[in-house]
Symmetry: C2
Subunit: 558 residues, 2 copies
């Protein structure tokens, strides 16, 4: 499942070829978008690229180095075949997907290796030091921040992509301590399958779940959709091992320690710039008996935001709460499945009329998905407490049907992105977070910045937003924006919008990323995020652990 | 309350002179200890020291530097008076208390300053750089790890103790985001009073609460007694500002971020070796309506340990759970208040007989205190769930009386330490943590190491232990050991026991400190704790932010 396979992987887009986005199931979606974005699906702006459209230069790695890699890792675990080089040269950001379609492969890696044990990782790093090779750790390849791209390759004798997919063993499940130790390359579904078989879950389900790895989650400080209940990745890591060019960092397996600054929290979020994560011990939780997802609609976004805040601050912890603003609520309504019997659809329409009579509307309201996971009794209690708060703030409970539908299709949207791109639609997401007192202010300002930047190119688009992860102190805001591409200026258009949005985030008190990470795309704002001294600290960490600068250069630090 | 005041502060021991440990209230305690430790309170091994017993050298700070400090901070905020110099020269570890009594003041600081604003901290650091002065940040002075001692003073032109007690303002309470921002020098009671007045609490109550500061809690990665419910200090810090010799580190006020390695978690636990914490924004919680503390007794320690583990892993979160082993249970019984009416005591004795008939004993069992805080309904629910699990594992519910008594006297024991020392009793505590699978093993090995090290000196003592802070994955172990001092070898005796215990902690998988911090006393074990690479990382942080090495040298790093 985890290895990229030629003829099976959509290397230029999302997921595997055997899965696509089902438009027939959602017959309102295309008309909705066509009307607002003014495109016709019969006109393809782009076509999917094929391998033979890319002419690769000879791999630059010295023969001796290549031979040594083959000798030590085994021939099957070293490749400079075009498919492997191409598929490991970019991630899955809009910028990446666009460049594939523009047939722009500027920075192919030279060789891909698949270590199977920590000692092979160490060997690879030693070799890279000796031959001055750039090393790019590769987890699931789903980075949306340019995290796996070979930047400044000319300063190195070659570029190795270290694909961790074959370091995929679940090493130990400790049912007493509720911890599990795994190699860092294990992919989401394999890890969960192994844990589920023993009655546990880790509870980490990012949208990239099927195409990302434990190590990738940790080094990008990722958050899963159910982080309200299960925590973000950094709440789950008990200990880890990271191979750096200078040696191994191995933190103690302890529930907590007061022994100085946290080395754990230095490795978490290091994005491959300090070393390669090889192993981690994670907190696990009993596999839930009940998955109970509900939909609600609020009269407006601020009312829903207050509901989330009050729920969290009352110590009521659902697995997941998401709240869409007006634009996203309309979009969610358009995406909604239109399958099922005519009777069901008639009933749904009746509900909509009833809601309208009470002042709720999917064109103007705020749609919430709230999910509870665990044992029956606890789920019932938590749900009762949460829904009571929602009702107090005007939330109308739509029942489980919209919740179930969201849950069922929660990994689908990235597949739609590829279709939109080919129709000439710019579509990207970005995210931030702030404290509750600043949330609506930040929400409005970032929205305005995105809208103005889109309009600057003479287009108008859709800017949708939802609260995706919440805390007692504040929440994240997750934006999706769509607009017709500026033909011939596709990358420039995107960069203008991205810059405007991120500048606004910095100006109005948000963090530049809540869970996507920094990578290449957010690096220019790191000084504004962490300050001059903060940046110096990060730079000194880098020069301590990677004095030659071979580890994933150009990411994280500007 | 926070400033050390001549004639009021027990600078050579714990707390202020107007408070002492009430032995009359606990008439069983002294006979219990006398029998086991073989001492008589009428024979004083030591007497409390007085200021005039210490001859201080002239303060070494250059005149020009002293004058500049007076000019900028104001004469009232700069002192080289003997009382100030002496009271700022050591903390409150057993080693410190012993040295006072041995009249050993090896390393007096030269001058104490009390900045009131961040700019005065920055000024002090700049001046220290210019004149090569050692800087020791001083919060409440309650360090039990040698955290405020001037080590290697000969390499500097003088030593400044920067007492933060006058940077004590609560700057902002944000009732929407449930956060509060305060200057780092604010002491526990002042902070809580300010928050309570607005309906909030921070929920951080270490044993040192009355004599420690917000900044001290953060830079030592402290944990309060109610950390199970409210979190450890690092779970509460939203953002902070730290003045380093190279500039200010200021982290973003956000509930979470994925922007790289955590600078927040670098400053937390930095123990004054990188800079001086000046301000922090903390998570706060609604002030609880109900404080509900209970006592239980288990037939043995492992049964109680299982109960705690099951409670936590069932997602039931009391504010506090503590479980004493057999020795500590006997000690707790001896410490118990014997006040009240003869009728009350008769009733208590009946309960004890009833317990004995059911196989429970305070000489052989494991005593648990479990506390719940919050709103009535939630407290009732949580208590019901927790007590059900306790009963399943054989816990006998003793009602609220022992819980209330623990709660009422929870800050008393450090006062007793001073009396014990004067009677010639070595008394110290140490703590570690590990995952549940390893807890009982570690418990036994550390206990054995302490016992053997005490016996090596021909003494026998009391070694008591309790589980003090628990997590889903594991818990901390908190040891108290008492033994007659080896006359003439008091410091050597302690060091032998401390070494044996900490070596055992390292060997059997514990962390060298769960919440006391590293300071000077744990620094020799840091390499075993974090590894060679880990140590190099911490050293590089230090040289980046404090290239001259003026910040609290000799602490944290060996």
């Amino acid at each position: 499942m985890s290895d990229y396979e030629e003829g099976k992987s959509r290397w230029w887009g999302w997921g595997n070829l055997d899965k696509t986005f089902d438009l027939e199931e959602r017959e309102n979606l295309l008309p909705f978008l066509m009307e607002r974005l003014g495109f016709t699906p019969d006109r393809q702006h782009f076509t999917d690229p094929t391998l033979d459209e890319f002419t690769l230069p000879q791999p630059r790695i010295p023969d001796e180095a290549f031979r040594k890699l083959e000798e030590t890792l085994g021939k099957d675990n070293v490749s400079s075949q075009p498919f492997h080089r191409i598929s490991h040269s970019m991630g899955k950001s809009y910028r990446d997907l666009l460049r594939w379609r523009l047939r722009q492969l500027e920075r192919p890696v030279d060789v891909v290796v698949w270590p199977r044990e920590e000692r092979e990782v160490i060997f690879t790093l030693d070799l890279a030091k000796k031959y001055n090779l750039m090393v790019i750790p590769f987890g699931g390849g789903s980075s949306v921040t340019g995290g796996v791209e070979a930047l400044g390759a000319e300063r190195y004798s070659g570029v190795i992509s270290v694909d961790m997919a074959r370091m995929n063993r679940l090493l130990r499940v400790d049912p007493t301590s509720h911890t599990a130790t795994a190699q860092a390359g294990i992919q989401g579904p394999d890890l969960e399958e192994g844990l589920n078989a023993q009655g546990f879950t880790m509870g980490h389900f990012p949208e990239s779940f099927h195409h990302s790895s434990l190590g990738g989650w940790i080094v990008t400080r990722s958050a899963g959709r159910m982080s309200t209940g299960y925590g973000k990745i950094e709440d789950m890591v008990i200990s880890l091992k990271m191979a750096t060019p200078e040696g191994i960092i191995s933190t103690k397996r302890t529930p907590h320690t007061a022994a100085g600054p946290s080395l754990l929290d230095l490795c978490i979020g290091s994005e491959g710039t300090l070393g390669i994560l090889t192993e981690a011990t994670m907190r696990i939780r009993p596999y839930p008996n009940v998955f109970d997802y509900h939909g609600l609609i609020f009269r407006n976004f601020p009312a829903g935001v207050s509901a989330i805040r009050e729920i969290l601050q009352a110590d009521v912890l659902p697995a997941c709460i998401r709240l869409s603003d007006r634009s996203e609520t309309a979009l969610a309504q358009a995406v909604r499945s239109t399958g099922g019997s005519p009777l069901k659809r008639k009933a749904e329409n009746m509900v909509l009329r009833l809601l309208a009579s009470r002042g709720y509307s999917f064109d103007d309201g705020a749609f919430m998905v709230i999910g509870f996971e665990g044992e029956r009794e606890k789920v019932d209690e938590t749900r009762a407490a949460a829904l009571t708060i929602c009702r107090k703030l005007g939330g109308f409970h739509l029942g489980t049907s919209p919740g179930k539908q969201w849950y069922r299709s929660r990994y689908d949207m990235p597949y739609f992105r590829d279709m939109l791109l080919n129709w000439g639609i710019m579509v990207d997401t970005l995210e931030t977070a702030t404290t509750w007192d600043n949330l609506l202010h930040l929400y409005g300002e970032v929205r305005r910045a995105i809208r103005e930047a889109i309009e600057e190119g003479g287009k108008s688009g859709i800017i949708a937003c939802h609260v995706s992860h919440s805390y007692k102190e504040g929440a994240s805001l997750y934006y999706t924006f769509l607009a017709p591409m500026e033909e011939g200026n596709e990358l420039g258009q995107w960069l203008r919008v991205k810059r405007a949005a991120t500048d606004a985030i910095c100006e109005y008190g948000g963090t530049i990323t809540h869970h996507h990470g920094v990578g290449y795309e957010h690096a220019p704002w790191m000084e504004r995020e962490v300050g001059r001294e903060g940046l110096r600290v990060l730079q000194s960490l880098k020069s301590t652990l990677d004095p030659q600068g071979i580890m994933n250069p150009g990411k994280l630090l500007p």
